[in-house]
Symmetry: none
Subunit: 255 residues, 2 copies
């Protein structure tokens, strides 16, 4: 059987069942485990499915709750470690900008500083913040369906009313030559503006973003301080300028 036939059958099976076990594919296709694995690898590379432990699953699930990001338990732990360290950078009486996104969301439970004022473009963030009795301003604008972030011209306009001691920004790619990048131009514009309005900018990001490059540039590497869970691999990632990097210790995260 040709490789193409196999892969087509895999996709058809997935279209029907939404998930499929590796063993099932092996017996269905009369191919060796290795071959099927390689097929899955290739299809994942083409973004046609998602590999999971023991098999593969459709990217878009009927239940779209699960598909937002492939987040293993480990990843969640990492994010929490980063979030916890980032939260300690907020000092009493600070005015901070909190970018929308999961890592910045995780920061909120760890905020201990008093009399803090937060501006955010993430409605979920606002929700958590007011529960913690933290003064919170939400930016206005269009809600993006995928990331649930507020973006657009209205957001850009309303953020101008503020000045920040510190801005915490999430990104999708960190690269020495391309700087910080993210897929959506509107989001990039807002992040950039937040950075311009802040005295200090922290990039909060798990280490998987190193050497990734996304569509839109936000600003250069040296313009912000990185908070991450792991030092970047120095082979593919050469920090020539004096970019500051804080590394979170995952072991000490309890909550």
């Amino acid at each position: 059987m040709l490789a193409e036939e196999r892969q087509l059958m895999i996709l058809k099976t997935l279209a029907v069942d939404h998930v499929v076990k590796l063993k099932a594919l092996v017996s269905m296709l009369n191919a060796s485990e290795s071959t099927v694995r390689r097929d899955l690898q290739e299809l994942e590379g083409r973004h046609l499915l998602r590999r999971v432990h023991g098999g593969a699953s459709l990217l878009r699930k009927l239940n779209d709750e699960l598909d937002m990001e492939t987040k293993t338990f480990k990843n969640v732990q990492k994010k929490k470690a980063v979030a916890r360290l980032a939260a300690t950078k907020i000092k009493d009486n600070d005015c901070v900008f909190l970018d929308a996104g999961t890592t910045t969301l995780e920061m909120i439970p760890f905020i201990t500083a008093k009399n803090v004022t937060v501006v955010t473009n993430g409605p979920a963030h606002g929700d958590l913040l007011v529960r913690k009795k933290i003064i919170c301003y939400l930016l206005g604008g269009q809600m993006k369906s995928t990331t649930k972030a507020v973006i657009g011209s209205l957001a850009l306009q309303s953020i101008n009313l503020f000045r920040f001691d510190t801005a915490f920004i999430g990104v999708n790619g960190i690269d020495p030559s391309m700087g910080y990048t993210t897929p959506d131009p509107e989001e990039a514009a807002l992040k950039r503006r937040a950075h311009d309005l802040a005295q200090r900018t922290y990039i909060v990001s798990d280490s998987s973003k190193f050497s990734e490059i996304s569509f839109c540039k936000i600003f250069d590497l040296g313009e912000a301080i990185i908070i991450t869970d792991h030092l970047p691999d120095l082979d593919g990632f050469k920090v020539t300028d004096k970019t500051e990097i804080y590394v979170a210790d995952q072991e000490t995260v309890d909550r």
Copy 2:
């Protein structure tokens, strides 16, 4: 069974029953207690459910918001009936303003019109709307801790950028002489502005608000159309002017 299948089943069970016992999941999934615990742990980490002693429960924003007020079964039914009727007033291609509040929140699942654009000052509303793939603009401003509504000068300023076919507004008091009233002056100002910017204004309110008077006046009775679950008692409530009132039929609400 793959981990993902298990977790999806857990979420589906929760969606139906709202709570689920650990033991029930163990026997349903044919997995060990440890495994189910780990699944719950992970799903909680991703903010997809809340773990409680003995099992897990749904973390619906709706649930949280509702239990502030008395949410007896009757009251919920009443609100849903009002919300359902109100939602039918939204027509294809409308631009509507949705006030923050529980009744307007309940409207969202009942919206069937196509190509609707919604502006709201309730972050929770925005969340639900984008899930329904409805275009949604969130007003900027300070988040009020009690009602989770966005208010203040920034909100007043950013709402001016819009014009509405229809505005749906919640109130705390409805009285023939005092008109519509609400406790917070900032919220009142925003509701008034929304009304001014709209061609038609509906007041969505359960019947308990009749003859109640709250601190701040929003506008006069005749300026809007009331949607409620029950006609006001005519002794204490004399509708002298030609105020329009729609009364919802609670019997026919199923969902």
